[in-house]
Point group: C2
Chain length 210, copies 2
């Protein structure tokens, strides 16, 4: 059980919504849970902090990140900027192989959605869309942003009502990639992300009042 294993296990739990945003993650508790000392737990928490899932402040307990409305607005603005740009770069250079990967990822995302595991499939599909651009750092920033958004969504369990709509968006995006229509694909992606942002913002509002 290396520190990497601990980090991935914790990330899985976090993205499953096992810990509510704002809750604390004491090193000792995690250490006993994983049967190790606190040192590798510290490393794992540092990795999660790097991924943006956890807030770490010296001498204070690590906390699951909690996003304000402004944070959500900003995160989705960044996603719009970065994901649309990357998709526009990817589409013109997509090979037949890339398109097959996208088809496969689409099928997987449909499958995972039925399996109450929407986020996993969603991440897979979007990665497949952007991969042809071969921009590792660009992609990594996008995935960090999606990860933190996903954590909030998982925590409040927003999904069920919207997955069908979003799966339709995915299918549409897939078609536009096959046609090489970057302009329309970017527009579709934009509305896809804007819709997701609205849903998350609405959820945050209701949860705050209720």
């Amino acid at each position: 059980m290396t520190s990497e294993d601990i980090a991935t296990a914790l990330e899985k739990d976090l993205l499953r919504g096992a810990f509510p945003p704002g809750s604390t993650l004491p090193q000792g508790a995690l250490a006993t849970r994983f049967g190790v000392s606190r040192i590798p737990v510290r490393d794992a928490l540092a990795q999660l902090a790097r991924a943006g899932l956890v807030d770490v402040t010296p001498n204070r307990r690590a906390r699951v990140v909690q996003m304000s409305r402004a944070d959500v607005v900003e995160a989705y603005d960044l996603r719009l900027l970065l994901e649309c740009d990357l998709l526009a770069r990817a589409i013109p250079v997509m090979t037949q192989d890339d398109l097959h990967h996208i088809d496969y990822a689409l099928a997987r995302s449909n499958l995972e959605a039925r399996n109450a595991n929407w986020s996993e499939g969603d991440a897979l599909f979007h990665s497949a869309l952007y991969a042809p651009a071969r921009r590792p750092r660009h992609l990594s920033i996008i995935e960090t942003l999606r990860c933190v958004c996903r954590l909030q969504i998982a925590a409040y369990d927003t999904l069920p009502a919207n997955t069908d709509l979003w799966l339709a968006d995915h299918a549409h995006l897939r078609d536009l990639c096959h046609h090489g229509d970057a302009t329309k694909a970017v527009a579709c992606l934009r509305s896809h992300l804007e819709g997701a942002r609205e849903v998350l913002l609405d959820t945050l509002s209701t949860k705050k009042t209720g």
Copy 2:
């Protein structure tokens, strides 16, 4: 001497070009240098990895990041996208106070440039430009990117020939902010960054052959 202090001291050294890209940073050596054990050094290296200045791989020594040409191209594409967008958001909401801060930062950058400390002043000026937008995550990504670019520039000591040109760009940007001309300011910033990228790419070429 806390782990944060070690991180900032190391960052300072890195951005001064004290360690060439690709060189190793053994925990033990750093520990004895700072008079602490390896534990806080590990933490500091993790922080630097988070800032993108150091590559950390399990069981291997930490290394100063070394960017390929493709990495530089991608990093500056991201900076163009993110910095232009943020400047466009900042200019319409700049207050008189913000403009004064920009003037001050411009003076500082002129001063630091003469003091062989161009990078420091450059960072200050750009931060002042973007601060009015109040987008902490956006700004943080930009600063991470500038940091890694700055490390490469510092390592190869590219600056002296170009600082006058870049200071003129800064003055021009300052004026356009005062006039509230976002379009022209973004165009100016774009060429500013594209110019810097060219210089860095040229330097990498000559260093590789020579």
